[in-house]
C-alpha cells in the first residue's frame, strides 16, 4: 500500500467516521470483548444476511477484513471438522475446508467439537477443535500446517469436551488443552506449528480461554492465573488464589479483573501480584465479564447483568435480562450485546440509570456462543446459521 493510498484511506475514514477493526479471537481485541472501532453498530439493528451452516458450533465467528470465519462439527460422532470463510458483505461462501478429527470427539450433549473459537494474526487463521485438532490456513484457505494434539499427547482430552480458545501474539500461537489427565499449554510457531514451548498445567478440567494483556498471555485455571511470555512460556507473574474454570478473566488498563472469588482486581507486576479489591458477589455464571469505561459488567447464573465500579468493585445496579446465557456479552461504543440460549439477541444501554434493554431480536434458534463485532456489524452463530446484524 502506497503512502497515497494510506492517506486516501485515512481521509475516507475521517469522512465516513468508520474505522474498521478486525475481531480476531474469542472476545475480540485483546480478549476484552469490547470493539475498538470508532463507530459502533447502530441501534436499529436488523438481520443483514443469514448463511446456512452444516454442523454444530459453540465457537464464535471471527472477522478479518472482509472475511468472516466460523467453525462447525458434523457427522454422527462429530468427526467432520469444518472451517468456513464467508464474505462479510453478503454472506456468500468464499471457501470451506472439511477435515477429520484425529482426537476424541466425545462431549457433553450441550457442547460440541467446534467449541473453541478460532483466532487470527491477520494473515493466518488458526482453528482448534475440542478433539485437539488444530489447522492453520491462510486467508484464502490454503492449508499451511496442522497438528493433532491428542495424536501427539494421547491422554490430552476431556470426555465432557474442551473449549479453550487459542490466542496469537508476537508470532506465537498459544493453545491450551487443560484436562484431568495430560494437561498442558503450548506456544507454537505460527509459521510451522512446531512447539516453541510446552508447559504442564494443573490436572483439572478447564474451559477458560487465555487473556491477552500487557504483552503477556494470562492462563487461567482452578489454581489461579499464570501470566507467561508468549514467545518463551516463561512466567511473568503467578496469581495462585484459585480462579473459575468456565468464565474467563479480562484485562483493562493496568488491571486484570480475575474471575476468582467473584471478581478480584489484580495489579500484577513482574513476579508479584497486588490485589486491589475483591467482590465475592460479582459471581459470573457461564459468561465472561467485560469492562466498559469505568465499569465492569458481570452476568450471573440467573441471567442478571451486574454493573460495578472498576475502582473498588462496588455494585451500581442489577438488570434482569432474558436468560439463560452460555455465550458472553460483547460491547461497542455505549452498548452491550448478548444473546441468550433461546436466541434472543439483546441490546443493552449500560448508561441508563438502572441499565436498560433497548432492543431484542429473535433469532429463533438455540445460541450458545458469543457474538463478534466488526465493520459496524455484529455476527452471531447457532448450530445451523450465521447471522450478520447491522
Amino acid at each position: 500500500m502506497t503512502m497515497k493510498t494510506i492517506s486516501m484511506c485515512l481521509m475516507m475514514c475521517l469522512v465516513t467516521g468508520v474505522v474498521s477493526a478486525d475481531w480476531l479471537q474469542f472476545r475480540g481485541p485483546n480478549a476484552t470483548a469490547v470493539s475498538t472501532e470508532a463507530k459502533a453498530p447502530a441501534d436499529d439493528l436488523k438481520i443483514a444476511w443469514t448463511a446456512d451452516l452444516p454442523g454444530r458450533g459453540l465457537s464464535a465467528p471471527i472477522v478479518v477484513g472482509e472475511r468472516v470465519f466460523v467453525t462447525c462439527s458434523s457427522g454422527p460422532g462429530q468427526e467432520t471438522l469444518h472451517v468456513f470463510c464467508f464474505n462479510a458483505a453478503d454472506g456468500s461462501k468464499r471457501w470451506e475446508r472439511a477435515m477429520r478429527s484425529t482426537g476424541r470427539t466425545m462431549t457433553h450433549n450441550k457442547t460440541c467439537v467446534a467449541a473453541n473459537t478460532p483466532c487470527s494474526d491477520g494473515d493466518r487463521v488458526f482453528a482448534l477443535f475440542s478433539s485437539n485438532d488444530l489447522f492453520a490456513f491462510d486467508l484464502d484457505g490454503n492449508l499451511l500446517w496442522l497438528r493433532g494434539l491428542t495424536f501427539d499427547y494421547a491422554n490430552a482430552s476431556n470426555s465432557l469436551g474442551m473449549s479453550q480458545s487459542p490466542v496469537v501474539m508476537d508470532g506465537t500461537l498459544v493453545v491450551q488443552s487443560e484436562n484431568d489427565s495430560e494437561s498442558f499449554a503450548a506456544g507454537l510457531d505460527v509459521a510451522t506449528g512446531r512447539n516453541k514451548w510446552k508447559l504442564e498445567r494443573p490436572k483439572a478440567a478447564n474451559w477458560t480461554s487465555a487473556t491477552v494483556w500487557k504483552n503477556t498471555v494470562a492462563l487461567q485455571s482452578s489454581a489461579g492465573i499464570l501470566a507467561v511470555e508468549p514467545a518463551t512460556g516463561k512466567t511473568v507473574w503467578d496469581y495462585s488464589d484459585g480462579a473459575s474454570t468456565i468464565p474467563s478473566s479480562v484485562g483493562s488498563g493496568e488491571t486484570l479483573y480475575a474471575v476468582s472469588h467473584g471478581i478480584t482486581a489484580l495489579a500484577p507486576e513482574k513476579g508479584s501480584v497486588t490485589q486491589l479489591w475483591r467482590n465475592e458477589k460479582l459471581n459470573s455464571g457461564t459468561a465472561s465479564p467485560l469492562v466498559l469505561g469505568d465499569s465492569i459488567y458481570v452476568v450471573n447464573g440467573a441471567g442478571v447483568l451486574i454493573k460495578a465500579s472498576v475502582k473498588n468493585g462496588e455494585e451500581a445496579w442489577k438488570l434482569r435480562m432474558k436468560g439463560p446465557f452460555s455465550g458472553s456479552p460483547v460491547a461497542a461504543g455505549k452498548r452491550i450485546y448478548i444473546v441468550n440460549e433461546r436466541g434472543i439477541f439483546q441490546v443493552i444501554d449500560p448508561e441508563a440509570p438502572e441499565g436498560k434493554v433497548l432492543k431484542e431480536i429473535e433469532l429463533q434458534e438455540t445460541v450458545l456462543t458469543t457474538p463478534a463485532i466488526a465493520g459496524g456489524a455484529i455476527y452471531v452463530r447457532s448450530d445451523a446459521k450465521l447471522w450478520k446484524l447491522q
Binding site: M106, W145, N179, D180, L188
Partner: protein, 368 residues
C-alpha cells in the same frame, strides 16, 4: 489405431501426472508428531492442489496406510481440487467409483470418494449405496443401513411386518454404529424378534473380579497391586476395607456393563481388577474398545495397552479404541478400574464395558 494412440497418450499423460505428484504426496505422508514435516508438507500441498482433477484417485490413494495427520493433509488437497472440478463439471466420477469399489483402499479415502461421487451424481451414489452394507468402512455402512431402516418403516406403514423384519434384520446385520443399532434393535423387538446385542457388539460378559484395593488420594491408579504381578484366582490379599478375593461375575446388562458395585458394594476411593480369557481362532489384528468413566488401565497378555486417569466426565460405547494383536488361542485381558473419592450422585458408577472387534467395529467372537 488412432484411438489406441490417443489412449496411450492419455495413459502416458496420466502416469506423468501421477509421477509428478508422488514426491509431494510422499511429503504429506511423512508428517508426524509435534508438527514434524509441516514445513515440507505446506509446500507440497501447494503443488498438489494445482493438479488436474484426473489426479484425484492418485491423491486419494496417498491416504492408504497414511497416519491420520497425513490423511487430513491429503483430504484438504482433495477438497480443493474437487471443488474446482465440480464447478467445471470435470470430476472423474468413473475413476472415483473404481477407487471406491476397491476395498483395499483406505476406508477414510473411500469415504471421501463416495462423498465426491454423491456431490457430482446423487443418483449414482444412490445406486452404489446398497453395495456398501458389508463395507470395511463403518461410515460407508451408514448409508445402506439408513436406507434399510427407511424400507422397513415403509413396509411397516403398509402393515407388511414380514418385509419390515427382513429390512430391519438386514440393516442390523450391517449396522456398526450404536445409534442405528439401537433403532433397529427396538424395531425388531417391537415386531417380536429376538436381538442379541452383546453378541452383535462382541461385549465380554464374564469376568473374574477382585476388589477393594485402596485408591486414597487417587494414588491407587499408579500403585501396582498383586493382580498386576500375578493372576492367581485362589489368592486372598489385604484390601482397603476387607479382604480382596476373586469372584466370578457375569453381566446381565445388554450393553455389557461390568459393575464393581454389584459384587463389592458402593465403595469409594478404591481399585478393582477384572480379568478374562478371550480365545481367538487365529493370530490377527483387533481392537479392544472400552467405555469407562473411572480411571482405568487395560493389559492384553501382560502388555499395557493404555491407561486413563480421568474420573466421572462421562462414558460411552467405544469411548477408547485400543488397537492390539490377538494371538491364536488364549488371550488374557486384565482391566484395572479405579473409583475416586467424589460423593455426588453422578459419581456412583464404578464400571466399564469392553468389547473385542475389528477396525470396522464388527465383533470378533471368541472361539469358546
Amino acid at each position: 489405431m488412432k484411438s489406441s494412440l490417443v489412449c496411450l497418450l492419455a495413459l502416458a499423460a496420466a502416469s506423468l501426472q501421477a509421477a509428478d505428484l508422488s514426491k509431494p504426496i510422499e511429503a504429506l505422508r511423512a508428517v508426524g508428531k509435534e508438527g514434524q514435516g509441516n514445513e515440507a508438507a505446506g509446500k507440497a500441498w501447494q503443488e498438489i492442489v494445482k493438479a488436474d482433477a484426473a489426479t484425484l484417485p492418485e491423491v486419494l490413494k496417498g491416504m492408504n496406510g497414511a497416519n491420520p495427520l497425513a490423511e487430513n493433509w491429503l483430504r484438504a488437497a482433495v477438497g480443493v481440487i474437487a471443488d474446482d472440478a465440480l464447478k467445471e463439471k470435470k470430476l472423474p466420477v468413473e475413476a472415483l467409483v473404481t477407487f471406491l469399489k476397491n476395498t483395499q483402499n483406505s476406508p477414510g479415502a473411500r469415504v471421501v470418494a463416495f462423498d465426491l461421487i454423491h456431490r457430482a451424481d446423487e443418483k449414482l451414489a444412490e445406486e452404489l449405496t446398497p453395495t456398501l452394507l458389508e463395507d470395511p468402512s463403518s461410515d460407508l455402512r451408514r448409508h445402506p443401513v439408513a436406507k434399510l431402516i427407511e424400507a422397513g418403516n415403509v413396509a411397516l406403514e403398509k402393515k407388511d411386518n414380514a418385509a419390515a423384519i427382513v429390512a430391519y434384520g438386514k440393516g442390523l446385520g450391517g449396522a456398526r454404529d450404536e445409534d442405528q443399532i439401537k433403532v433397529l434393535a427396538k424395531k425388531l423387538r417391537d415386531l417380536g424378534q429376538k436381538v442379541d446385542l452383546p453378541k452383535h457388539f462382541g461385549f465380554l460378559m464374564s469376568w473374574k473380579m477382585i476388589a477393594p484395593f485402596s485408591n486414597a488420594d487417587r494414588a491407587g491408579f499408579d500403585t501396582v497391586y498383586p493382580p498386576e504381578k500375578e493372576l492367581k484366582f485362589d489368592a486372598v490379599y489385604e484390601g482397603k476395607t476387607k479382604e480382596a478375593k476373586w469372584v466370578d461375575f457375569t453381566s446381565a446388562d445388554e450393553y455389557g456393563k461390568i459393575d464393581f458395585n454389584k459384587p463389592f458394594g458402593m465403595e469409594k476411593s478404591v481399585v478393582g481388577y477384572a480379568a478374562t480369557d478371550f480365545f481367538s481362532t487365529e493370530d490377527r489384528p483387533a481392537e479392544i474398545r472400552i467405555g469407562c468413566k473411572d480411571g482405568w488401565k487395560v493389559w492384553l497378555n501382560g502388555e499395557l495397552l493404555f491407561a486413563r486417569d480421568e474420573y466421572h466426565r462421562g462414558a460411552k460405547l467405544d469411548q477408547y479404541k485400543l488397537p492390539c494383536q490377538l494371538k491364536k488361542g488364549k488371550n488374557t485381558i486384565l482391566v484395572k478400574c479405579c473409583q475416586n473419592e467424589q460423593t455426588e450422585q453422578w459419581t456412583v458408577e464404578w464400571e466399564f464395558q469392553l468389547r473385542v472387534c475389528d477396525a470396522t467395529g464388527t465383533a470378533i467372537l471368541a472361539a469358546k
